[in-house]
Amino acid sequence: MLLEINLITISFWTGSGLLILGLAALVAFARAIQGPTAFDRLLAINIIGTIAVLVVCLYGFFDGRPAFLDIALLYAFINFIATIAVLRFFRFGTLGEEGSAASKSRENDDIWGNLND
């Protein structure tokens, strides 16, 4: 019921903006599924996160609720942390260690060379 009311009150500009962002997210999602390497997928997921930030900002702006900007800012922070965490996990295999025996041996591996195999 609430969802229907929201859909009716959404203005033309909000609707078209959300539609365009949704299409962009779909394109990025296709790359995330298709992506030949892990980095393509990671970049696609990062783009989807950025689009989510934009959607939150847009909806908050058109709905007249500036508190949505706080949520968008938080989403941007967490998006960055998540990307760095996944990148680190791909590079080192662990989340917390640096300079230990396991990560040292992985550190010397050429990751691009591994991917070209």
Binding site: A67, D70, I71, L73, L74, F77, I78, F80, I81, I84, A85, R88, R91, F92, T94, L95, G96, E97, E98, G99, S100, A101, A102
Partner: protein, 151 residues
């Protein structure tokens, strides 16, 4: 990862901003979205970012286990203490009305203290959870080397 200048500089800019944002969410919770739990998680995410980039050992130097445990316990005590304070003032447990001169002032103070306690405990437990999970590989290697030595 700390030898990558881009990641390092961005993290140096972002970590204080995330902490400041956590305090904003903590103390602005009455007027906007937020509160103690969310602020605690955001504050802990700053330490998680530090640990991801600079390594767990450096983060353990910055934020050691014992102060973390102390913050966790002080947060719980602050929550419970505010509740007990309400009881001492003649109300029920966690009754804020008796804390100030007027019920409004008492509620303001009480909610601030309780949310501060929640934020402290949540931040400390999130950091502790991340340390426990991220340090598991080291711990397992330590255990297996100990087993080898025992044999």
């Amino acid at each position: 990862m700390h030898d990558d200048p881009v990641v390092r500089i961005v993290a140096k800019v972002l970590i204080p901003s995330i902490m400041l944002f956590a305090f904003y969410v903590q103390f602005h919770g009455d007027f906007g979205p937020g509160g103690g739990f969310q602020a605690g998680v955001i504050f802990a995410s700053a330490f998680i970012l530090h640990a991801i980039i600079f390594g767990l050992n450096r983060t353990r130097h910055v934020w050691a286990f014992r102060p973390n445990l102390a913050v966790l316990c002080v947060g719980v005590l602050l929550y419970g203490g505010t509740g007990i304070l309400g009881m001492l003032g003649g109300g029920n447990f966690l009754n804020y009305n008796v804390l100030g001169d007027t019920p409004q002032a008492g509620q303001h103070l009480g909610i601030l203290l309780v949310e501060l306690g929640v934020g402290m405990s949540v931040a400390a437990s999130m950091v502790m959870l991340f340390f426990a999970f991220a340090g598991r590989a080291t711990h397992n290697r330590f255990l297996s080397s100990k087993e080898r030595n025992d044999e």
